[in-house]
Amino acid sequence: MNFSISLTVNGEKRNVELDDPRVTLLDLLRERLDLTGTKKGCDRGQCGACTVLVNGKRINSCLALALSHDGAEVLTIEGVAHGDELHPVQAGFIAFDGFQCGFCTAGQIMSAIGLINEGHAGDDPERIREAMSGNLCRCGAYLGITEAVLDAQKKLTAAGRRDAA
């Protein structure tokens, strides 16, 4: 059985023919669309390395069936920078040493962008750590990750105020 789905990925409309219903959103991104920035860690929803935004919300793409997401808008790590200008969360991860090996980083950054969009954590480091608990970092860069998220949130909030003014 063949299935045809269409998605908007990083602002670009993509039509994909699937010959197999088992393909996850993660495998669709990596294997069919060559967007390998999103990482496959555990593939079971435990590590968060595969985090992407679907319709603006962070989810584990390994536990999402691609077919179920026909018509969805997907944002991956490849779509967050503006040309050579890094997203404030990306810049924060560099400035505050939010990674060592980097394998979890794409998922951490997408999760942090989702967290800031959700707007529930404020500038409380404890709430940020709790809201980032779905992203594991085996190198243990959690301290830098929390600082990076706090910094990016501050910059994005200030930018939002400038836009509103």
Binding site: I59, A64, L65, S68, E126, R129
Partner: protein, 351 residues
Amino acid sequence: MKTFDYIRPSTIPDAIAAAGAGATYLAAGTNLLDLMKGGVTRPDRLIDITRIPGLDQIERQSDGGLRIGALVRNADLAHDRDILRSYPAIAEALLSGASAQLRNAATVGGNLMQRTRCPYFYDVASACNRREPGSGCDALHGENRLHAIIGWSEACIATHPSDFCVPLVAFDAVAEIEGRKGRRDIPLEDLHRLPGNAPERETALEPGDLIVALRLPGQAAAFSKHQRYLKVRERTSYAFAVVSAAAALDNAGGKIRQARLALGGVAAKPWRSRAAEEILAGASPSEAVFRRAAEAALAEAKPSGDNAFKIELARRVLLRALTMAAAGTPERLPALPASPFSSVAGARHDA
């Protein structure tokens, strides 16, 4: 993963008509896809219900209660104003479960239908009566420190993993079911079954049944000022409960008018304790009466293996949850929802 047919009906009757033998409903799939990847569940057909209109609404009812569509996402429900105002322990339970990513995807109906996290159920090389009836139970003489202490049988000692369902049974929530013979209600307390000799029959649902909504009665809002969910985990966040408790009090004039208590992580279903509620009703809130209630709630408990510690832990979690509920629902949910590490005035940290 075994391959399957995939269909995406746009009406409830179409979904039910497609639900023949070997078919399974798919919502977010956060539990189902995991089970399918491990070969634990091997459906022939997935019926994707996520495009059925009208199942993602939260509606206020004439009795002041809420009707929550089966496709409402856990994160949306946890931050809903009516839930936070009237049933804050439900928000706290939801936010103590899984991770932010999973809560954004997981649905109300899916949470009710999630399977046990018993590692022997997940390991297809192990004997498991729940997964394969008659094969035995490797948990019974295996690594079982986290298994059931109430309502278990020699056939199965698994626990129900949901946090959300614990305050739901305390508040008399009702699941609305659409089935081959029409619509009916199942009280949440009767939805999940104890294992007995047939642990493979996990719920009261019949073939083809689809959960379409969850109703919270308006009268349960009487507990809104004094309710908490408390969950002891082996790490502070993103872990299933070792033991959890929902405690809710309706206090007036220095007395408890009525109380609601339920435990999670102790049985194959969220465990409501009416005996403990009766002890509390009419009493003045005090540590002594909370302790008696906790004793009553665990009166039938017995270890199913290397887990006798969970009985005393459950008593202490209940005592602590009652103490926190008596102190009052906090203005804002704590940074670490349901965690014993939250610093809330009035809660003893050595209970």
